[in-house]
């Protein structure tokens, strides 16, 4: 049952699998994001309170979700690498960091632009916005720590530890809207029993969530290939792998 897990620790296996998966993941992402944007921007009815401005949710919510998911993935991959000494974990963590950071920036910027018409301000120091900003700083910290070491393996381990220390922030961001009085609205999509959105609004949003996830997976595959190559440059399997394939 665990063979799939063990295989994921093997660099040549991962190198091959990511090559095969990349185009499919990207295609799925394109389809889902395309439908989500067209349906959400063009066909979903305007919100009775926010009018057409609510459509920002179609990029804001998936980005914010990815920023949290990406950090958690980075922390878990690093933890697996630290505890079980599976070096692939470090490669995944290193690949995941810049992707997650970029979506954190999108979440903050789109949130800011959404806040201006809705709350009257581009920014507010409320718990969710502040902790999301802290998340961005944590990403930068991890991304700066890794290359600071002369020994790359040591840098990997230090970055993994730092990511773990910072992962405490993730539940704080998620629950901040419940624990504190916040300008930011509560959960929209997690209430599956009684969703607060009609299907015409909800379906494109779900499509965007899944589309962004597939996109994340695709980009992660590409970056992971680079990370694996950087760490396994002189291994015997590399020569054959990069000779037979051009990319």
């Amino acid at each position: 049952m665990w063979t799939w897990f063990y295989r994921l620790a093997s660099p040549p296996y991962v190198f091959g699998v990511t090559r095969a998966l990349y185009p499919w993941l990207l295609a799925a992402a394109a389809l889902l994001i395309g439908y989500g944007l067209i349906a959400g921007l063009g066909f979903a009815p305007p919100d009775y309170q926010q009018g057409d401005a609510f459509r920002i949710i179609y990029v804001h919510a998936p980005s914010a979700w990815l920023s949290l998911f990406g950090y958690t993935l980075m922390a878990v991959a690093g933890a697996i690498a630290l505890v079980w000494r599976i070096k692939m974990g470090h490669a995944v963590a290193a690949a995941a960091a810049p992707i997650g950071a970029s979506f954190t920036v999108v979440a903050l910027l789109t949130g800011s632009l959404w806040g201006r018409p809705m709350w009257g301000t581009y920014w507010a120091w409320d718990p969710r916005l502040t902790s999301e900003l802290i998340l961005l700083f944590l990403y930068f910290g991890v991304m700066s720590l890794r290359p600071a070491f002369e020994d790359p393996a040591r840098g990997d381990r230090a970055a993994a530890l730092l990511a773990l220390v910072g992962v405490v922030n993730v539940p704080i961001i998620h629950f901040s809207v419940e624990w504190w009085n916040s300008l930011h609205q509560g959960a929209t999509v997690t209430k599956f029993a009684k969703p607060s959105m009609p299907p015409s609004m909800l379906l494109p949003l779900l499509s965007m969530f899944f589309g962004f996830m597939f996109f994340y997976a695709a980009v992660l595959c590409k970056r992971l290939r680079g990370e694996v190559l950087n760490r396994e440059r002189l291994a015997t399997w590399v020569k054959e792998a990069i000779d037979t394939h051009d990319a």
Partner: protein, 226 residues
């Protein structure tokens, strides 16, 4: 002759304090820095005490944060440079014991000193005497938490070129919740409201950090020393 963990902690703590007091200039520098930073704000903003009072908690806390970062940089550096750190690691005592002792030693000469200095600085910033109790308690809890966070950062960056900048980059985001609640507690005390909620939260943060930070800092040292 094997030394128990508590004994070892006491020995290392006493060593830390003795070494710190041997270099009084190094001891005083972060404290002077704290005083200077708090002076910058009235100079830059306004000498009106009534206006300063509003931002006094923030000024106090930011100055304490920066001063603490300055001094925590050398938490492990001296011992790492002359090989003492490796000797301690090989001594058979757990790295956790060593980290706890060194961090407590650091807090006693930096954070605790800041707490004692805070009434003077508080008066200069217009904080009413009635709020001093909350101010000092929040600073005590906060600087201790900062010392723990700094220990993690110091453990990760000891021996790195430009490690001090990285240390700040790593520790400051982690310290932001601390700043929010610490300043909030003092602020509420100044305006006459009950600071209990914020103080409880600070205490919770302190306990949480005190229990987990030694583990993290020890792991960081293990990575650095390998």
């Amino acid at each position: 002759m094997s030394v128990g963990a508590w004994e070892a902690m006491g020995l290392i703590l006493r060593r830390e304090l003795r070494l710190s007091f041997r270099r009084p200039d190094q001891l005083l520098q972060p404290l002077v820095f704290f005083l200077i930073v708090t002076t910058l704000f009235p100079l830059g903003l306004s000498p009106e005490l009534s206006l300063l009072r509003d931002m006094a908690p923030a000024v106090l806390w930011v100055a304490a944060l920066l001063s603490s970062l300055l001094s925590v940089d050398s938490l492990f550096k001296g011992d790492a440079d002359d090989g003492t750190l490796e000797q301690l690691a090989l001594s058979g005592q757990s790295l956790g014991t060593i980290v706890i002792a060194k961090t407590l030693g650091h807090w006693l000469v930096s954070g605790a000193a800041l707490v004692l200095m805070s009434p003077v600085v508080g008066t200069a910033l217009g904080i009413p005497v009635a709020a001093f109790g909350t101010m000092m308690l929040s600073l005590a809890l906060g600087t201790l938490t900062l010392s723990w966070l700094g220990a993690i950062g110091a453990g990760l960056t000891v021996g790195l070129r430009r490690g001090s900048v990285l240390l700040s980059l790593i520790v400051l985001p982690l310290a932001m919740p601390l700043l929010i609640f610490g300043a909030s507690a003092t602020d509420r005390a100044i305006t006459g409201m009950s600071p209990a909620g914020a103080l409880y939260f600070l205490a919770a943060l302190c306990v949480f950090t005190s229990s987990l930070a030694p583990v993290a800092a020890a792991a960081a040292l293990r990575i650095t020393l390998e």
